[in-house]
Amino acid sequence: MKSKTNKKVIKAAKETVFYLFLTTLIAGMLLPVYFIISLSFLSTREAYQYPLPLVPAIKTDMELGYGERGYLLSVWDRIDKEYQTVLDTADLEKMEYYIKSQLGTKITEEELLIETSRLENSDEESIFFTKPRALLNNYDTFFTVTRDAVPALIRSLQIAGLTILISLSIGGLAGYAFARYIFRGKDTLRFSVLFVRMFPGVAIALPMVFILAEANLYDEPLGLSLIYSVGAIGLTIWITASIFMGIPVSLEEAAQVFGASKFQAFMKVTLPLALPGLAASAMYIFLGAWNETVAAIILTQFKPTFSVVVYQTLLGASGQVNLAAAGGISMAIPAIFFTFFLRKYINRMWGGVKV
């Protein structure tokens, strides 16, 4: 059976090529993401090196010698492959701070004291020592600086949840109408819904915020969700309409025949069936609400969203791209989690798409 083994070999080869191709594709698509993640683990010093290190260092090799003002601190440079002088100071507290903030490495003043005395006691011009990198240093700093990160995060989740609820309920009703009924003006209405998206949102962001403030919803999570829903509803209507089109009417009718009211039939039959699709469309809404900053920053005072506190932390983070990266990743993680859990419902979202 020579041909049989041959076939197997060819098949295996084909598969290998296919998966190689996929891997390349993923690598290409996610390369930028890799770099931003890697950046978030780099020390400030490394983050500004060129060429940029491809992976974060896991230890810091340092050299301590004598300088004009006191001790001379040098650091091993992975790119140039040499020790480079970075600091000349007698102030150990300053050195400790420098090592933490610029080198992303934790060392205590006591430890520094030990090293300096080791230097003093040796006849060498300099001594060497190595410390492990505090890889999570940027995240550490980020969450230290970002005040009330956790309550803000919870609030953001709450706002995203509310937005999903509002958009899906209001938009879902309309989507249901478009999916299930034939009525005069249907196409015009459906197109008008899209028109809301056609009108540049930036032009009316501020006036919308004013309306909310007047409605006493200033600094209220609900207020923000109401604003976010304006943008989300249009798309939600289209998505939910196609979801509902995919669920046979007869299922609902069956419930009615067997004793349910229209509302009961909807709640007990159509809604549970639409749920996966709705969940997937919730992803869009979630991403929108989660990442929004412009309205949130104007509309909140005591109850900022996570995006606002991140914004506040990173507004002046020039010179600290690694910190910005850590902030960006921190913000992305919940969104990515959400996407991960909903990925298998994604194809349920655009059930019977039709323009």
């Binding site: 500004y48 970075v86 903030s101 004013f210 007047e214 104007i298 507004l315 002046g316 983070a317 791209v321």
Partner: protein, 419 residues
């Protein structure tokens, strides 16, 4: 239930109205839960935020038994937020820190309190004249200056070998700076001068500093002094002295740290930040000088109390605390090296590296020709900036000559915007 409490404290009118629960309010409002909202454009770098909170706010909180809610927001958003709060009577922000180019908008809108009386009652401190003029209007003090900035020269040590013979870095002139920049460019094959350019619209300040050194006013575009200043930059432009990414530089911090650029004239706090990242690699000097001295636009921010703030008295005592000379110095040193705009503060300076930065800045401030930003005189300061940017973009960047005609045109552009 701190939330309930805070609300009721800030909107005292409401408390009075809600007669049903006055007792609860009385009982449930421990003094400690008073919250002062402090929204600032300044101290935005994370390490400065951290410092401000732990070293400045903390002692005050402990002393007064209150909470200070410190928030970083950019000027425009701060204004938008104030607009909302004021026009809907939901004033929740107590203190704002604005840049002096935007102060006029605050004052004109009537969103900040007149603090003249308080300032006059504090006799242990005097604000430097250079800053007071900007934060004032009609002789009334609305903003108390903080975090003043003047220009320093920051160079990567790799550029030092190109420094023209006999030039002393501490008294370098603009012409020498230009030659230096060109020399570096020739030696390295690409320009290394960074200026904060188009994206953040800061060219006007850079140029303003130069122009002041040549005896021009600010913002002058076409006076004789201004023309001389343009020529300096024209030299750099023609010598390909600018770092090629100059159009994308939002702040010179990043390119300087990445060593994409080697030379810059830079506000002192930011220069200090880069300097601190590797003291052995960078050199700091006062900004270059011209015939009339070292010109510099003094960037300064100011504290103000929001109109209708519910915590007016507390806000006043916080500002009193913040403007104490020793606190100003502590603040300046802890936040990258701003100049403390209180004259008495200078006495508190020491002789560490950071003090050196501040001292150099103070030197510029004292000996130089310093101007504030007359943002309030114009319809829109952003549009004024654009007038300058346009000249920069179509002459210096393209290597073209700066002509008097072009400058006259720019001046018209500026003057048209005068209120």
């Amino acid at each position: 239930q701190p939330e309930v409490v805070t609300k009721e404290v800030e909107v005292p009118v409401e408390v009075v109205k809600e007669v049903e629960i006055p007792v609860e309010v009385e009982v449930e409002v421990p003094v400690a839960s008073k919250t002062l909202v402090f929204s600032s454009r300044l101290f935005s770098p994370p390490q400065e935020q951290e410092f401000f909170i732990t070293e400045i706010i903390k002692p005050f909180e402990d002393e007064h038994g209150v909470t200070v809610n410190f928030q970083i927001i950019d000027d425009q958003t701060l204004l938008d937020r104030a607009d909302i709060q004021q026009s809907t009577d939901h004033v929740t922000t107590d203190i704002v820190v604005a840049h002096n180019s935007r102060m006029a908008e605050w004052i004109d809108a009537g969103w900040v309190e007149d603090l003249t009386d308080h300032v006059e009652s504090w006799d242990d401190r005097h604000f430097s004249e250079a800053f007071v003029q900007n934060t004032n209007k009609d002789d009334k003090q609305y903003f108390l200056p903080v975090g003043a900035d003047v220009y320093l020269l920051l160079a990567n040590n790799k550029a030092l070998p190109y420094l023209p013979e006999g030039v002393d870095l501490d008294s370098i002139t603009w012409e020498e700076y230009a030659d230096w920049a060109v020399a570096v460019a020739e030696g390295e094959g690409e320009g290394k001068v960074c200026i904060t350019g188009i994206p953040s619209k800061s060219w006007v300040y850079m140029f303003g500093g130069t122009a002041l050194s040549f005896g021009a006013g600010f913002p002058d575009a076409n006076s004789a002094g201004a023309m001389d200043a343009w020529k300096v930059w024209e030299t750099i432009g023609k010598g390909n002295g600018f770092v090629p990414t100059v159009l994308n530089v939002d702040s010179c911090v990043d390119p300087m740290m990445r060593e994409e650029s080697w030379l810059t004239v830079f506000h002192n706090a930011r220069a200090g930040q880069v300097f601190a990242s590797n003291e052995t690699e960078f050199t700091l000097a006062p900004a270059p000088t011209g015939p009339t001295g070292t010109g510099s636009i003094a960037g300064v921010s100011g504290y103000a109390i929001m109109k209708d703030s519910a915590n007016y008295d507390l806000a006043v005592s916080f500002l009193e605390y913040l403007t104490r000379p020793e606190i100003q110095v502590k603040l300046a040193k802890g936040t990258g090296g701003f100049i403390p705009p209180v004259q008495e503060a200078i006495d508190y300076l020491g002789d560490e590296a950071i003090d050196e930065v501040i001292n150099k800045a103070v030197l510029v401030l004292e000996n130089g020709v310093v101007s504030g930003v007359p943002g309030g005189d114009y319809e829109d300061w952003g549009a004024v900036k654009a007038c300058f940017d346009d000249v920069f973009a179509d002459t210096i960047l393209t290597g073209a000559d700066v002509t008097q005609d072009r400058l006259d045109e720019a001046q018209t552009c500026i003057d048209d915007l005068l209120k």
